[in-house]
Symmetry: C2
Subunit: 341 residues, 2 copies
Amino acid sequence: MVTIKEVAREAGVSVGTVSKVINGQYVRTLNQEQVEAAIKKLGYRVNTYARGLKAQQTYTAVVIVPDLLNPFFAGFVQETEGALAAAGYKMLLCISHCDTDTEIAYLNMAVQNKADGLITITYSDLDQYLDPALPVVSIDRTFSNSGCCVTGDNETGGVIAARQLIQRGCRKLIYIRSGSNRQGETLKRGEAFRKECIREGVEMTQKDFGESTTLNEKQIDEIQRFLEDNIKENKFLYDGIFTSSDIHGVVIKEKLVRMGIRIPEEVQIIGYDGVRTHQFGAYPVSSIAQPVEEMASVCVDRLLRMIGKEPVERKIVLPVCFVDGKTTIQITEKKKEKRKK
Amino acid sequence: MVTIKEVAREAGVSVGTVSKVINGQYVRTLNQEQVEAAIKKLGYRVNTYARGLKAQQTYTAVVIVPDLLNPFFAGFVQETEGALAAAGYKMLLCISHCDTDTEIAYLNMAVQNKADGLITITYSDLDQYLDPALPVVSIDRTFSNSGCCVTGDNETGGVIAARQLIQRGCRKLIYIRSGSNRQGETLKRGEAFRKECIREGVEMTQKDFGESTTLNEKQIDEIQRFLEDNIKENKFLYDGIFTSSDIHGVVIKEKLVRMGIRIPEEVQIIGYDGVRTHQFGAYPVSSIAQPVEEMASVCVDRLLRMIGKEPVERKIVLPVCFVDGKTTIQITEKKKEKRKK
């Protein structure tokens, strides 16, 4: 089957421009003609599964995220907007700051038929506010009555983090996190990390810094005090740190360095998400990288299927991988082999 | 006058929650009661200037930005969403990737009365597509027929960058930029930088890397080649670099370090924007910081005034300042004094 990307390449325009032609929106005349010629030449046919209910649709999706200052959320919103736009959908963006009232207001708006569907990153107790008839796709959590959950493989992520730190010689590990304690996929990061440490016979502690996933100033102050309290004779009491997000990892790295601790020689850090200051840049911490592009495109794909009344999976788990951000020591393949023996 | 923030503090809820009560949106009963009690106690009165045309309004604003991977744009969108939400407005977010067709499609949608106003960061030639009746506020550029321009003080920014580098001993400067060459406020950064260098009698070169403000892989490759071509005998030919954005600065810093150049000892870098990996973190490059929160709140304030048929300024220029990101050498106040003499 010919894809919209191939049409765009043939016409020499962006996927967004092809999408607009297909959806009858305005593009410049020259582009319109090139796209129509490419569609004809390649025999492209519009995938109509989401076109069934046109009269009742607004072609608008509500997207709820905690914030945009975490590059992981910003990247997710950017990729989601792109995938929605390619399908002719507009995005109403709600930045919740993890505030439940804000989330409920947007849910209500979506239910009142001003939006065709909902994509959320939320950790609130929203089950009672969700209409089972409204298509919902959510990252890292399952709602009780409806929807599809798209998540990175948090269990494998926790295991990889433990193995990478242990392999590099860490023997006293700590998992530092914040966020909801409600049953959610992200809790599996810490659980799998702990189990792997136990399996390997390595000491492991967990430290929680409150319910807010997005670190606030109070949490940052508490982290500062915790780090200070755990430095004795210029040494940090743990030699390996795993954190629930890269933001946690970056905060801790910067604070420890300022306290005179050498990273990664004395303390190694692995964060979670795989964020970067910009898309071509270095990772600020070693991390378990989530496939943000794929997460967004799968979210939009399943949302469109649900809008088109097609069945979808209750949960989709996508692969994660380790990335080197220089907060873990370099290790040669030879050394790895040695350790395995 | 009592502000919405004071009501929120009194009620012990977020500003967003107060806003929702004022706008008749759903909040939990307890919060509703607390907000109503606080409004009564403090004698708060809703500012009604933007409420005049309710029947014709959608309470939706379209926001167009190039991307969210640049933390400056992400921060701007986050602050803009917050200011809009506090006024009872929803945000339709368009990520343009600097694609003119995408921008025009959203402009048309806004004009077709599906949005009450428009906030843009765009460098395209859109004058002919703007309806003078549609309220428009834009960052860093003025449209010919309508709207309000909100911008950082780019002239002062360019002067500060030159002075900071010269003060720290740089004698061979280069301004590295990409982005539109159309007349826009951001061009003043380089112009003011050049003039200040001439005034100080310091050598200065400019290097352009194409029209795209958001660096793409082709531009990154060109920057890489340019840097390689300008390293002779392990020395970079310039001792001070000013860049049109922090992303440019970070890319150049990472590449030069990889080529064995010591930053800031051999080469000093000042970027533009004042971005950080997260809101509590260090600056990745020394920079001219733009007041992103104020820019967003002024944008929304002026948009609401225009929607309320009030007159607004054609251009508002907000202050910028130097921030230390460790890509410039430390300089004591004493040394500064000495240099002045």
